[in-house]
Symmetry: C2
Subunit: 422 residues, 2 copies
């Protein structure tokens, strides 16, 4: 069935059940004359006066009426904003591309404000010839363009102990999805010559934290990239300008920003960020290390606590995001009743591996409370677990890798709350 | 052959011909010690001091070092900047997504600065029930996400009389390519009920120019959309906030911004913008009307006059864009010698219908002058014409629909000039 047939099939069902509601409550018959709408009967100022010209904004910005669409910090979460997080406003955006201005940030020593002319990328360790590249050198390698999600492994981490954060921006907003342009990492490593004894790669950032992670060489030679652009333009300073390592499908902490050094070695370096942090403490007190892949996950972005239903009953668009570090999302199901009945959602837009997928379910809301959940399945057949199933294995000592099913409780008045169903 | 095999095949050829050049001229052996690079031997300030925290930029912006990456106006081109154009910096961006801040603008009465709470979309004319929608109403319809190019039909229009504008930003920069989110137009029209006598659609903008165009109903019911988001966030004011009509593959002037009214009728309205303007004056003095589709076209974005070769001979990435209003680009060829010999370029990234395609050709530049051209072929088998072939049919009276092959003359010193080959 074509994409269009799917949309239209949805639409036919929609019309059958709710034409009255949409024709009445939602859309206003234009010529009824009952209550003249000043937005129609009056000439608005922007139709009377010439607006700003093309020299007004060499670099364009959102409308002032969109000022509330922004990244948000949670002050009590960290002691200092320079080793902290802000969150992508998932409830306010649509499609699968995150605009560059709204990509969440996570720093350990604040944003490194790098002069690109003074930035270098060094390759050393178990290589035939250590090399140092300028940015111009990097641009002389063959390039690729790929859309990938980048998720902090602590995303949804506050929810291990039950509902904490009342908004999808805060429960799931440590993720973004952009089109990167860059060079396959294997080409850069091959340029230096990989010694046979090399099994691991160390990537080091140019910030004051010198963020450093070990990556198996097999992954480095697979789909990793050294990127210089996001959504067409140079990386943003807070996302790694001028160079970032991409580790598609793997936890965001490994995507070293402000990339300055790549070292090849024969074993992992056991850095702070792969021992003390970014491991998973199990119920028996042992810790799982090197749990890199981000498993299949999904969440409904609207309605959600920050995006309540304001139009009353009738036609309602339920929408959300699904993703998997293992590849493509094959299916997303949505339930309105906390998991008793599931309906397959419509995935719309490009379905790309290790990228966000956008899903929609159009319903005719009867105005009664709902327990909304979404459940993703990826191309390996893996199904996103319930929080209960996840905790049965992982316990409640964890911070990272929470990909459990999220529940939103929609009230009769359209307000939405973060809840957990047992 | 997979995308990876294509890249690697390119790379193998690249290595065979130019390892010495890249290992020598381009990348610096790290430990030679001959001329210590202060970027390596000194600790840069951003490694010594904590940078700004996550509350510093609720809406992120490019690095100050990228201030020269911007839309540019050409003051002499129009009498007033409020009925004018600025241009996308194609030479400074990569991939296929145009970041929202860099999408070119073309206005007839400046930017309409609309308060979304006071904006309505009216449907009238040959419909069963005229309707007026608020923005909230529009968001209750099923949504789609599509990446489409939007090209002003006057793009490259200054070049009909030979090379005029010395930069791809100015010769080809009236184009952008974003992911839109919106509602299929047919669903909105069907909501009002389309009368059997309706054959045409009139779309009207909410700016002071009340930009208005006629569109055949067949196209309106095909792939047109009413969009409210670009690259995930709300449309930018200069690109039609809060609602824009999308007419995929067709000339940009029809993509009515600030969309306020849709009227169904039984014949075209013969508005100024489809009679006095946006027609093609032929050599015999007659004018072609309703030449809506943007035919297959391509251009090399780097090297180009604004993006000269600064690294001397050796490995060189030639890159550019190709697109067609008829669908997918099947092939792009590149010539280094003004059309004598052609090599198939590598198209990388998603290949989507009526979207920009990014192509690359990696060569080992011998430092001698080149006459660079690209030539696109679309899925219908149509091949982008030479300027000579185009003029043989269209003459030189035209302003619009110039999709001829562009030539860049690369000099030995790496500088690039806009030329025409006969």
């Amino acid at each position: 069935m074509s994409e269009r047939e799917k949309t239209d099939r949805t639409r036919r069902r929609f019309l059958t059940t709710s034409l009255a509601a949409l024709g009445g409550a939602a859309a206003t018959p234009a010529l009824s004359g009952e209550k003249p709408d000043p937005a129609i009967t009056e000439v608005q100022p922007w139709r009377r006066h010439l607006g700003p010209g093309v020299d007004a904004s060499p670099y364009g910005l959102p409308s002032p009426f969109e000022a509330q669409v922004r990244r948000r910090n949670v002050p009590w979460l960290t002691a200092d904003t320079r080793s902290s997080i802000n969150f992508t406003p998932l409830h306010q955006i649509d499609g699968i591309i995150t605009p560059n201005g709204l990509c969440f940030e996570r720093h350990h020593s604040g944003v490194a404000e790098i002069d690109p002319s003074r930035h270098r990328l060094m390759i050393n360790g178990l290589v035939e010839q250590p090399l140092v590249f300028t940015l111009e050198d990097i641009r002389r390698f063959p390039r690729e363009n790929r859309i990938y999600f980048m998720e902090c492994t602590a995303n949804t981490g506050m929810e291990w102990h039950g509902p904490q954060m009342n908004g999808v921006q805060f429960t799931h907003g440590m993720i973004h999805n952009v089109m990167y342009t860059g060079v396959p990492l294997r080409l850069i490593l091959q340029e230096a010559g990989i010694k046979a004894s090399a099994k691991w790669l160390l990537a080091e950032g140019g910030d004051a934290a010198a963020m450093t992670r070990s990556i198996p060489l097999e992954k480095a030679l697979d789909d990793c990239m050294v990127a210089f652009a996001q959504n067409g333009e140079a990386l943003r300073p807070e996302n790694g300008y001028p160079l970032r390592l991409l580790v598609p499908g793997w936890e965001g902490n490994m995507w070293i920003k402000w990339l300055r050094r790549l070292e090849l070695g024969d074993k992992p370096w056991m850095q702070r960020e792969e021992t003390s942090k970014y491991t998973d403490l199990m119920p028996d007190g042992t810790a799982r290390q090197f749990t890199w892949v981000m498993d299949a996950k999904s969440v409904i972005t609207s309605p959600s606590p920050q995006a309540p239903i304001t139009h009353g009953k009738g036609p309602l668009v339920i929408t959300g995001l699904a993703w998997s570090g293992h590849g493509i999302i094959s299916k997303v199901d949505v339930t309105l009743d906390g998991g008793r009945n599931w309906t397959e959602a419509r995935i719309d837009g490009p379905r790309l591996p290790k990228s966000l997928h956008r899903f929609y379910l159009e319903i005719d809301w009867d105005g009664r409370p709902m327990l909304l959940q979404s459940r993703a399945m990826d191309e390996t057949g893996y199904v996103q677990p319930t929080m209960k199933a996840l905790k049965a294995i992982r316990g409640e000592n964890s911070v990272y890798h929470n990909n459990g099913i999220q529940t939103w409780h929609v009230r009769e008045n359209g307000e939405v709350e973060n809840v957990e169903v047992s």
